[in-house]
């Protein structure tokens, strides 16, 4: 392994990163996941931690770009250079750039996460059969609205499991339209467009208006890549046109004719000779996870290794089951030392309804009753991550391991506590996941794992399973809640939320919705969400993202220092 001259490294171990934009090739959640896994490669063997920021300047700023993308090292179109990153430091140092003329996948062909349908966002299964015919890509067959779809199992005929594939007719990403679909035709600069265009931009990204007139409404989004779209060339995003004519010969599939590099291409009109419109055919693509793990190695201070099997070797090679080479481990540990302490292990849920028995059957009756070892004499300022935070009776309540602290909204009295939870609400378990107060009825709702309790004064109802509210039985816990007034509360879990009608004790139809679609700019999997003094707070680790009523993130900070005013 090699390190940069002077052994350049970060002077802190809590590294932050921010994803500035996305590639049209993969669903945003898959890209986020690939980056998170790539960081984990390094945090598994060092004391480094990686926290994602959604605003402001992070140590490692991650972006996709094409050709000249704002630094002195332009990319070169499809293949060749895949990405680059800068060694640790201020400004552009530490940043990682990915060439968006590549086809980004998980290394083994297009990964298509579906939306809507009945497959709950599952990945397309290729090939699949539909009415006895085999399909290796998304299809519009069987539909009149032109929306491409796929089966998420090998046989739609048997399983009837399907979802819709990314297309500009379904959604856009980025831009300012909150993911709304393209509207065709639309007017831009006085011209009418019937498809996504790169006109008006110099970065090569395809976009569309999400109203019929961009000139008046200025609303737009970027078009996701269809799986059948060509890559690069001069027809990015268009599908191959078969058959097509090239040098007076007819082709019914992709060809490498005319090229010295053996790459497969196709025409996107019926006649290449006449129209000269072409692009590369989709291939296995490059694993964003593997390339990102390599680039993050640079961003942490490693140069290229001369060992061919090392992650830091400069050439790309797809490996299915990745494990970090000892050379990479030695290199990064030379800079930051080995990981200290035991690996984190999730707390084991314990049943409250039956004695512990040895069984291979998983139980769903789980309540998190095992508190983490926190000394109750510790003050709230020594807690990095609270189990739940809620504004109850005008005071902020912070729950952790069987205890809670209160802080008045005026913050004149500072923090009070810790108080045992059992003292105020005897029926509750030690570890809560969220709580809220229904302003109309003054009832306080507490959630822990897949159960909830309702306190009216000293009277308690529960525990009841969250399925009683219409939430899915598969939900492990409700992690956050936002009272919305008029007897409605949003309940958050993983990357989704539901709207609960407190009066009818049932979730409304049309839910769940994805958190990042509605609350743009906050972590899409917050471990806590609460309302405090009219602002929405989304927490991840020790950080919070504060959102105003217009759903604009107006502050990001530490719960401890900024909310609790700890010294």
């Amino acid at each position: 392994y090699q390190t940069f001259a002077g052994n350049l490294k970060w002077d802190h171990n809590d590294i932050t990163y921010r994803v500035l934009n996305y590639s049209p090739d993969m669903d945003e959640s898959l890209i986020d996941d690939a980056f998170a896994r790539a960081f984990k490669v390094w945090s598994d063997v060092t004391p480094l931690t990686f926290t994602r920021l959604y605003a402001g300047t992070a140590d490692i700023m991650i972006s996709f770009g094409k050709l000249d993308h704002g630094d002195p090292y332009p990319f070169d179109g499809k293949d060749g250079l895949l990405a680059h990153a800068y060694p640790p430091g201020e400004g552009i140092q530490g940043d990682a750039h990915f060439d968006d003329d590549e086809f980004w996948t998980l290394g083994n062909g297009a990964v298509i996460k579906t939306r809507y349908g009945n497959a709950d966002g599952a990945i397309c299964h290729f090939p699949f059969t539909f009415l006895g015919k085999s399909y290796s890509s998304c299809t519009t067959e069987g539909r009149e609205d032109g929306l491409p779809w796929c089966s998420t199992t090998a046989s739609f005929d048997e399983d009837k499991k399907f979802g819709f594939c990314p297309s500009e007719l379904l959604f856009t990403y980025g831009g300012n339209s909150n993911g709304r679909a393209c509207v065709f035709p639309f007017v831009f600069d006085g011209e009418t467009y019937n498809s996504c265009t790169t006109e008006g931009r110099n970065d090569g990204y395809r976009w569309c208006a999400t109203t019929s007139n961009f000139d008046t409404d200025k609303e737009y989004g970027f078009c996701p890549s269809r799986d059948t779209a060509v890559i690069g060339g001069n027809s990015e995003g268009e599908p191959c046109h078969f058959p097509f004519t090239f040098l007076d010969k007819t082709y019914t599939s992709c060809t490498s004719e005319g090229r010295g590099d053996g790459k497969l291409w196709c025409a996107t009109t019926s006649n290449y000779d006449k129209d000269q419109k072409w692009g590369f055919c989709p291939d296995r693509g490059y694993s964003l996870f593997l390339v990102a793990a390599h680039e993050f190695g640079h961003a942490l201070g490693l140069e290229h290794s001369s060992i061919q099997d090392a992650l830091m070797y400069p050439m790309y090679k797809y490996v299915k089951d990745f494990s970090l080479h000892s050379d990479d481990t030695a290199g990064i540990q030379f800079l930051y030392g080995p990981k200290t302490g035991p690996d984190p292990t999730p707390p084991q849920p314990k049943s409250t309804t039956s004695p512990p028995v040895t069984t291979t059957e998983p139980t769903r009756e789980t309540t998190e009753t095992t508190p983490h070892p926190v000394d109750p004499k510790d003050d709230a300022c020594q807690v990095d991550k609270f189990d739940a935070i809620a504004e109850i009776k005008g005071q902020l309540h912070l729950f952790k391991d069987g205890y809670y602290w209160t802080m008045s909204s005026q913050r004149k009295e500072g923090l009070n506590g810790p108080f045992p939870i059992k003292q105020s609400w005897p029926a509750l378990p030690a570890v809560l996941s969220t709580a809220f107060e229904d302003i109309l009825t003054k009832k306080i709702y507490f959630f822990s794992a897949n159960q909830f309790w309702v306190y009216t004064g000293d009277q308690v109802q529960g525990p009841r399973r969250i399925e009683k509210l219409g939430l899915p039985a598969s939900l492990e816990r409700v992690e956050g809640s936002l009272p919305r007034g008029k007897g409605k509360v949003l309940l958050f879990s993983e990357d989704k939320f539901w709207r609960l009608d407190v009066k009818t004790q049932a979730v409304d139809t049309g839910y769940p919705r994805y958190t990042d679609y509605v609350f743009g700019g906050v972590p899409n999997k917050p471990h806590d969400v609460f309302l405090y003094k009219g602002h929405y707070y989304f927490c991840q680790q020790s950080f919070y993202w504060r959102m105003n009523s217009k759903r604009q993130v107006d502050r990001v900070g530490y719960v401890k220092y900024d909310v609790l005013k700890c010294p």
């Binding site: 004719e257 590099d261 000269q276 790309y316």
Partner: protein
């Protein structure tokens, strides 16, 4: 009809990776990834020396020649960070 098929190579509009000769490819590659230090004022290093350096770094046979294995390596997709930093 057993004669070799004559391939015709065309320049595709918008193609960033235009057909380069092996020598052009080697020259670009060695400069881009730091094997030839273009800023060095003491004179050009020989391409052979740079090739040896590149072959050593990438674990290839160190011939100092622009052989097929070296050309293949130069055509592989890779990271844009130089192998040798000035």
């Amino acid at each position: 009809w057993c004669g070799p098929i004559k391939s015709v190579f065309v320049n595709f509009p918008g193609d960033q990776m235009r057909n380069m000769t092996d020598e052009e490819l080697a020259d670009t590659y060695l400069k881009r990834f730091g094997y030839i230090n273009t800023l060095e004022k003491s004179g050009l290093q020989s391409q052979s020396k740079a090739l040896m350096k590149m072959q050593k770094q990438l674990g290839l046979e160190e011939t100092g020649e622009l052989d097929q294995a070296t050309i293949n390596a130069m055509n592989q997709p890779r990271c844009g960070v130089p192998d040798v930093r000035s």
